[in-house]
C-alpha cells in the first residue's frame, strides 16, 4: 500500500503554492466585492502556467497529467481563493477529449469555457465565452448571454447563462458528461480542502497570539477544541480527496462513490473550518477588512455547486445501499464495492 503523494506531486504542490501565493490572495476576493476587480490569477495566467490544462493530453497541448496531479494543484489554488476555478477547466478537458482544436484553445487560454448544469447558476460564467451543455445525449457548445447576479462569493463568477446557437460536439455523450461532473466534484473538493486547511492555519496562528484573561486564547479548551475538530475534518477530507482523484485516474468503478463522498465532506468541512475561523477571531473576524469572511463566502457558495451537499450525501447513501439513483442524478457506473 502506498496511499501517499509522490515526490513529483509534492514538488508540483510546492510550485503551485509559490505561483498562487505570488499571483493572488484573499484580498483580491475583497476587491472583487468592492469594485468588481476581476478575479486573479485569471484564465490567461492559469493557461500560461499550464495548470488549467494539466489533464489535457500532451498531444493536444496540455500537460498530460493525472486528476491527482490536478487535485494537488487545486488544493493550493483553494488556499488563496484563486479564480477562475480549476473545476471549470478540468470538466472542459473531459468533455472536449479527442477534439484537438477545442483542447488547444482550452490549453492556451484563447477560449474561456464554462459548463452548464440544467438551469443551475454556472460556475465561472462571468469570465467565459464558450459554453458546454448536454442536450438530450448530445454534447453541445456555443456562445451565450450571461447574467451575473450579486455574488456571495465573487471568486466563483457564477451567473445565469442563456445559450445562443450551438453546435453538437459529440452524440451519445452522457457517460462522458457524468465523468466530467464527477471529476469536477473531485477538483471542487480539492479546492475546498485548500481553503479549509488555510482557514485552520489562520485560526491556529491567531489563537496562539491573541491574549485574553492573561493568556493566549488557544490555551483555552473551548477555542483549542474547536480548532482541533476543524483540523480533524481537514485530514479526513484530504484522504477522501486523494482517494477520489486516484479513483478518477485508476479505478472508474469507485469514482461515483468517491466523488460524491469527497464533494459532500468538502462542503461540511470547509463550512466548519470557515465558521471556526470567524469565531476564533471574535469581533475582528466579523469585519469586512478581515479575510475570514472571504473563506466563509467561498464555503457557503461551494457547498451548493455541482449539486449541493444534501444531494451528494443522498448519492452516497443510494450507491452504498444499491438503491436506484435519484431523478436527475448521474447513474452509478457500477455499484461501489464497500469492502476493499
Amino acid at each position: 500500500m502506498n496511499f501517499d503523494l509522490s515526490d513529483e506531486q509534492r514538488a508540483l504542490a510546492d510550485a503551485a503554492r509559490d505561483f498562487f501565493a505570488a499571483s493572488t490572495s484573499p484580498a483580491d476576493s475583497r476587491r472583487a466585492l468592492d469594485d468588481g476587480t476581476p478575479v486573479a490569477p485569471g484564465r490567461q495566467a492559469l493557461a500560461e502556467t499550464g495548470f488549467a490544462a494539466i489533464t489535457v493530453p500532451e498531444s493536444s497541448g496540455g500537460g498530460g497529467g493525472s486528476v491527482l496531479d490536478l487535485a494537488v494543484v487545486a488544493e493550493q489554488a483553494g488556499r488563496v481563493l484563486a479564480g477562475p476555478s480549476l473545476v471549470t477547466s478540468a470538466r472542459a478537458a473531459v468533455l472536449l477529449a479527442g477534439d484537438d482544436a477545442h483542447l488547444a484553445a482550452l490549453a492556451d487560454g484563447t477560449a474561456g469555457y464554462a459548463v452548464l448544469d440544467g438551469t443551475s447558476p454556472v460556475l465561472d460564467a462571468a469570465t467565459a465565452d464558450r459554453f458546454l451543455a448536454l442536450r438530450g445525449d448530445d454534447l453541445v457548445c456555443g456562445a451565450g448571454t450571461v447574467t451575473v447576479g450579486a455574488p456571495i462569493d465573487p471568486t466563483r463568477g457564477v451567473g445565469d447563462v442563456a445559450l445562443g446557437e450551438v453546435t453538437v460536439l459529440a452524440t451519445d455523450a452522457r457517460l462522458r458528461w457524468e465523468r466530467a461532473e464527477r471529476v469536477g466534484q473531485v477538483v471542487l473538493a480539492a479546492e475546498g480542502l485548500g481553503g479549509a486547511a488555510r482557514a485552520v492555519e489562520l485560526g491556529v496562528a491567531y489563537a496562539k497570539e491573541r491574549q485574553a484573561f492573561g493568556r493566549a486564547i488557544g490555551s483555552y479548551q473551548a477555542v483549542k477544541h474547536a480548532l482541533v475538530d476543524a483540523y480533524v475534518g481537514v485530514e479526513q477530507l484530504r484522504s477522501l480527496v486523494w482517494w477520489a482523484a486516484w479513483a478518477a485516474d485508476e479505478a472508474p468503478d469507485e469514482l461515483p462513490m468517491a466523488a460524491a463522498a469527497a464533494k459532500a465532506l468538502s462542503a461540511q468541512v470547509f463550512e466548519q473550518a470557515a465558521e471556526t475561523l470567524i469565531q476564533v477571531h471574535g469581533g475582528i473576524g466579523f469585519t469586512w477588512e478581515h479575510d475570514a469572511h472571504l473563506f466563509w463566502r467561498r464555503a457557503k457558495v461551494d457547498r451548493l455547486l455541482l449539486g449541493d451537499d444534501v444531494a451528494a450525501f443522498d448519492t452516497v447513501a443510494r450507491l452504498a445501499l444499491t438503491l436506484p439513483a435519484a431523478p436527475g442524478a448521474p447513474a452509478a457506473a457500477a455499484a461501489h464495492e464497500a469492502a476493499r
Binding site: N2, F3, D4, V310, A317, A338
Partner: protein, 412 residues
C-alpha cells in the same frame, strides 16, 4: 499511489490467511469471550494457537518471544483477524500495553519469565493506572508504595476501571513513592501478582449492563523490589511507554470502532424499504453522513498504514483516528437503533436481538476509555497544532502541597 500490497506484503498476507483458514475452528467467534464468569480456557487456547502461527507479538523482538516483524505485518495480521471475524485476543491489554512496558523497562529476568507466557495467553495481564481521584490527570494518583526495611515494597490504595482485572494473573501498577516532589516525579511502576494476598478485585457494572472492568483494592500487598519496572520515582517515564503503546494499538490502521459500517449498511438496507418516502429521504441523509465519515476514517487509516509501511512510527496525530471513529460509531449506532421503529424503546427486539441497543449503550465508554475525547483534543491541539497548554494550578508545587490546597481551598 496504490492500495495494493507489495509482493512481500502479499506473500505475508497469504501465509496469515492460510494459517487462519487451517485453524479457524480453534479461534472462536465474535462475542465468545466477554461473558463474565465464563471459562477463559478457550480464549487462552485461541491465543496460543495464534501465537504458534507467529501471529501474536509480530513486532516484538525475537528475544522477547516475538517475531521481530514490521508494523506493516502487524497491520496485516490485524486486518486478517478482523476479516475472519476472530474475536479480540483475551490478552490484548498485556500485548498492547503491559508487554511493551516490560520490554522497555524490565530486567532480563522479568523479560524471560513473563513475555512468552504473556504472548501465548498462559498469563493474562491488566493495567492498573486510573484511580477514583485521578483519571485524565493520571500523574495525580494517590496509591502508595512504601519500601520495607528488607527492601520489599508494600502497596496500598485503590485502582479503578481496570479492564480484565477479574481474570488477570499479573498487572502493571503505577504507584506514588514520594509525595514531597512534583506529582510526575514521585511515581514508581511495579509488576504485581494479581493473586497475591491483599489484592481484591470487584466488578463494576457498566451503563450498558456488561461488567468488563473492575475496581481493585490493594491492602498492604507485598511486592519484591525485583518486580520494580524502571527506577524509583521514574514511573512517569515508564507510564509514557505504556500510553504510547496504547495509542499505537488504538490509533491503528483505521480499524473500525463499534459495530462497523458494513453491519449498519445491511441493517439500513433491510429496514429502509418499509419506511414512508419522507422518512427514507431522512434516513439516506443520516446514513450518507455516517458512511462518508466511515470512508474518511478508513482512508485516513490507509494513509497512516502507508507511513507505517515506510517505517514511520505513528505520532500524536493518530489520536484523530480514535476521536473521529468514536464520533462516527456513536452516530451510526443511534441511526441503527432509531431504525428499529417502535421496538427502539426496548432493550431487546421482539426477535431477541439486542446488538444495536448494546452498541448504543456501550459507545459512550469509547469516548472516555484510552484518553477521553477532551484529552485527545488537548493532545492534538498542543502536540500537532502547537497551541499553548492550559495553565495548571498544581504546577511548581509538590504533590502533598497540591493535595493540601485542593482539600482546603479550591472548589467552594
Amino acid at each position: 499511489m496504490n492500495f495494493d500490497d507489495t509482493p512481500d506484503e502479499a506473500a505475508y498476507r497469504g501465509r496469515v490467511r492460510r494459517y487462519l483458514d487451517e485453524h479457524r475452528g480453534e479461534l472462536g467467534r465474535h462475542g465468545d469471550r466477554t461473558r463474565r464468569g465464563g471459562d477463559t480456557g478457550p480464549a487462552r487456547a485461541a491465543q496460543a494457537c495464534l501465537y504458534d502461527g507467529g501471529l501474536v507479538g509480530v513486532t516484538w523482538p525475537e528475544q522477547a518471544g516475538g517475531q521481530g516483524g514490521t508494523a506493516m505485518q502487524q497491520a496485516i495480521v490485524d486486518q486478517e483477524l478482523s476479516r475472519a471475524g476472530i474475536p479480540m485476543l483475551l490478552g490484548i491489554i498485556g500485548i498492547g500495553m503491559c508487554g511493551p512496558t516490560v520490554i522497555a523497562h524490565g530486567s532480563q529476568n522479568q523479560r524471560d519469565r513473563y513475555l512468552t507466557r504473556l504472548l501465548r495467553g498462559d498469563d493474562i495481564w491488566c493495567q492498573l493506572f486510573s484511580e477514583p481521584a485521578s483519571g485524565s490527570d493520571l500523574a495525580g494518583l494517590r496509591m502508595r508504595a512504601v519500601r520495607n526495611d528488607d527492601g520489599t515494597w508494600r502497596l496500598s490504595g485503590q485502582k479503578v476501571w481496570t479492564t480484565l482485572a477479574h481474570v488477570a494473573d499479573y498487572g502493571i501498577v503505577l504507584t506514588r513513592t514520594d509525595t514531597e516532589v512534583a506529582k510526575h516525579r514521585g511515581l514508581t511502576m511495579f509488576v504485581v501478582d494479581m493473586k497475591a494476598p491483599g489484592v481484591t478485585v470487584r466488578p463494576l457494572r457498566q451503563m450498558s449492563g456488561g461488567a468488563e472492568f473492575n475496581e481493585v483494592f490493594f491492602d498492604d500487598v507485598l511486592v519484591p523490589d525485583s518486580e520494580r519496572l524502571g527506577d524509583v520515582n521514574d514511573g512517569w517515564r515508564v507510564a509514557l511507554t505504556t500510553l504510547m503503546s496504547e495509542r499505537m494499538s488504538l490509533g491503528g490502521g483505521g480499524t473500525e470502532v463499534g459495530m462497523g459500517v458494513g453491519a449498519v449498511l445491511e441493517h439500513v438496507a433491510h429496514r429502509i424499504v418499509d419506511l414512508p418516502e419522507d422518512r427514507q429521504a431522512l434516513v439516506r441523509q443520516d446514513f450518507g453522513r455516517a458512511y462518508v465519515a466511515s470512508l474518511g476514517i478508513r482512508y485516513t487509516g490507509y494513509r497512516r498504514l502507508s507511513a507505517v509501511s515506510k517505517g514511520t512510527l505513528p505520532g500524536p496525530e493518530a489520536s484523530a483516528g480514535k476521536l473521529a471513529g468514536t464520533k462516527a460509531a456513536r452516530a451510526t449506532a443511534d441511526l441503527a437503533v432509531r431504525l428499529l421503529g417502535d421496538e427502539a424503546v426496548y432493550a431487546r427486539s421482539a426477535d431477541g436481538s439486542s446488538a444495536w441497543q448494546d452498541a448504543q449503550a456501550s459507545l459512550p465508554g469509547m469516548a472516555i476509555a484510552g484518553g477521553t475525547d477532551e484529552i485527545l483534543r488537548n493532545i492534538l491541539g498542543e502536540r500537532v497544532l502547537g497551541l499553548p497548554p492550559e495553565p495548571r494550578a498544581d504546577k511548581g508545587v509538590t504533590f502533598s502541597q497540591s493535595l493540601a490546597s485542593s482539600s482546603t481551598g479550591g472548589a467552594a
